[in-house]
């Protein structure tokens, strides 16, 4: 993957060309971002075959919806990763409630602190979010990360953690409020 020269500006201009129906631009976007997006799918689904299906679906979605991308509101990479994450979570949910059983215990999420940045995007944002997450208490951090990477609902979180739903909800809401405060500071 020759992603070395990929900058946010290049990605934005690719999106504009894709929105006007240029297939070659989509191919270039695929070359620049598919490894990252495949990584996101794999992280959430832990299944290569399903991740390939979702990746395929993600790029067809990008092709159809490139005109909905608003450069003033989001970075291309954020938009693409969010689509990949949401599609993967949809797939995860389609597997049924059993897929979530026991995911909380021994939950281990690599924080990727040493990972090389392939795309020149938002390393600062990442560090800042990592920093702010780590200021939350362990339990809140864990539920927020689990919710984010596994798309588990309040109900499932509450069941798996053996805590009342209202309690889990207030952990998360308070955690999100703190996170926002920290990110703004």
């Amino acid at each position: 993957m020759a992603a070395a020269a990929t900058t946010p500006e290049i990605l934005s201009s690719l999106m504009t060309r894709i929105a006007s129906g240029e297939r070659e631009a989509l191919r270039q976007l695929y070359q620049a971002t598919s490894a990252k997006l495949f990584g996101v799918c794999l992280r959430i689904l832990s299944d290569r075959e399903e991740s390939e299906d979702v990746l395929q679906d993600v790029f067809v979605t990008i092709w159809r919806r490139a005109d909905r991308f608003d450069v003033t509101r989001a970075s291309v990479m954020t938009w693409l990763s969010t689509i990949a994450r949401n599609r993967s979570i949809d797939r995860l949910r389609a597997r049924g409630p059993l897929a979530y059983a026991g995911t909380i215990d021994g939950l281990e999420i690599p924080d990727g602190a040493d990972s090389a940045e392939t795309l020149l995007s938002a390393a600062d944002d990442r560090n800042k979010l990592q920093g702010c997450l780590s200021e939350l208490d362990d339990r809140t951090q864990t539920v927020i990360r689990t919710a984010f990477f596994e798309g588990v609902t309040y109900e499932t979180l509450a069941r798996n953690m053996d805590a009342p739903l209202g309690t889990v909800k207030s952990w998360i809401r308070r955690g999100l409020a703190k996170l926002k405060g920290c990110l703004q500071s």
């Binding site: 989509l26 598919s34 390939e52 092709w63 005109d67 938002a122 979010l129 200021e135 999100l176």
Partner: protein, 243 residues
């Protein structure tokens, strides 16, 4: 960071939607709200943006050979037809709540991606100019309920309903043109949540000018019972203006 102010109920809901903890019913509710309330949609976007750096930490994994070939085979052939592009653009601009900015941009996009064909045919009478209208509720809510674009080149009005699909099944929405002193003229029925391209006869095109109004009324099946205009309540009203 021990003391952070609580999030408002709306923002908390937006954040929960971005995080993914809502159940299926709540998710659907959030999606509908995003379509109807640009401010809420922007809140969800802001939260997606805040949380997305978690995804940056994930290591890239080269996708297997062959995935691109499959993607290419699935791309719809005519997905970039000009009218559909514009239509999606309109819908997007309204949903995103950037209607004004997007409207000025739309002119640019249209010009760039669609160089006007060199006229070889006989000149067409009074094609007029591109116009748009954002139809808002008559009760004072600022969010548009319908967006419309008049394209003289296509001799068509493109109208998009931003109401939830399937709303109010035994009633229909009827679109009206109110130009000058004329009585309202029906431009046809439109479906909630859908977009429609309405071909306009020349005599109607002649009335499509800045300042003319578009309105949508709720009518019984089959449309207005009155020969003089809407028989039911008008739910959306907006003025045509130049891009």
């Amino acid at each position: 960071m021990s003391e952070a102010p609580d999030l408002s109920e709306a923002e908390a809901f937006a954040a929960e939607h971005a995080l993914g903890v809502l159940d299926a019913r709540e998710r659907a509710e959030a999606e509908i709200r995003m379509a109807k309330e640009p401010a809420f949609a922007a809140e969800v976007e802001a939260w997606r943006h805040r949380l997305s750096p978690m995804l940056d930490a994930i290591e890239p994994v080269p996708a297997p050979q062959g995935v691109w070939t499959r993607i290419e085979a699935m791309l719809p052939a005519n997905d970039n037809s000009a009218v559909m592009n514009k239509l999606r653009f309109w819908r997007n601009s309204a949903v995103g709540g950037f209607a004004l900015a997007a409207a000025s941009l739309a002119g640019v996009v249209v010009q760039v991606t669609q160089p006007p064909p060199v006229a070889v045919q006989a000149p067409v009478a009074a094609p007029g100019q591109l116009l748009n209208a954002s139809l808002t509720s008559t009760t004072g809510q600022p969010q548009p309920l319908f967006v419309a674009a008049y394209d003289p080149d296509r001799k068509a009005l493109i109208i998009t309903s931003l109401l939830p699909a399937g709303a109010d099944r035994d009633k229909v929405n009827q679109l009206w043109l109110i130009a000058g002193q004329d009585k309202p003229r029906s431009l046809g029925l439109i479906e909630p949540g859908k977009a429609k391209i309405i071909a306009l006869p020349l005599e109607v095109m002649a009335k499509m000018s800045a300042g003319a109004k578009l309105a949508v009324s709720i009518e019984p099946e089959g449309g207005s019972q009155s020969p003089d205009g809407p028989s039911g309540p008008v739910i959306g009203l907006g003025e045509l203006s130049r891009l």
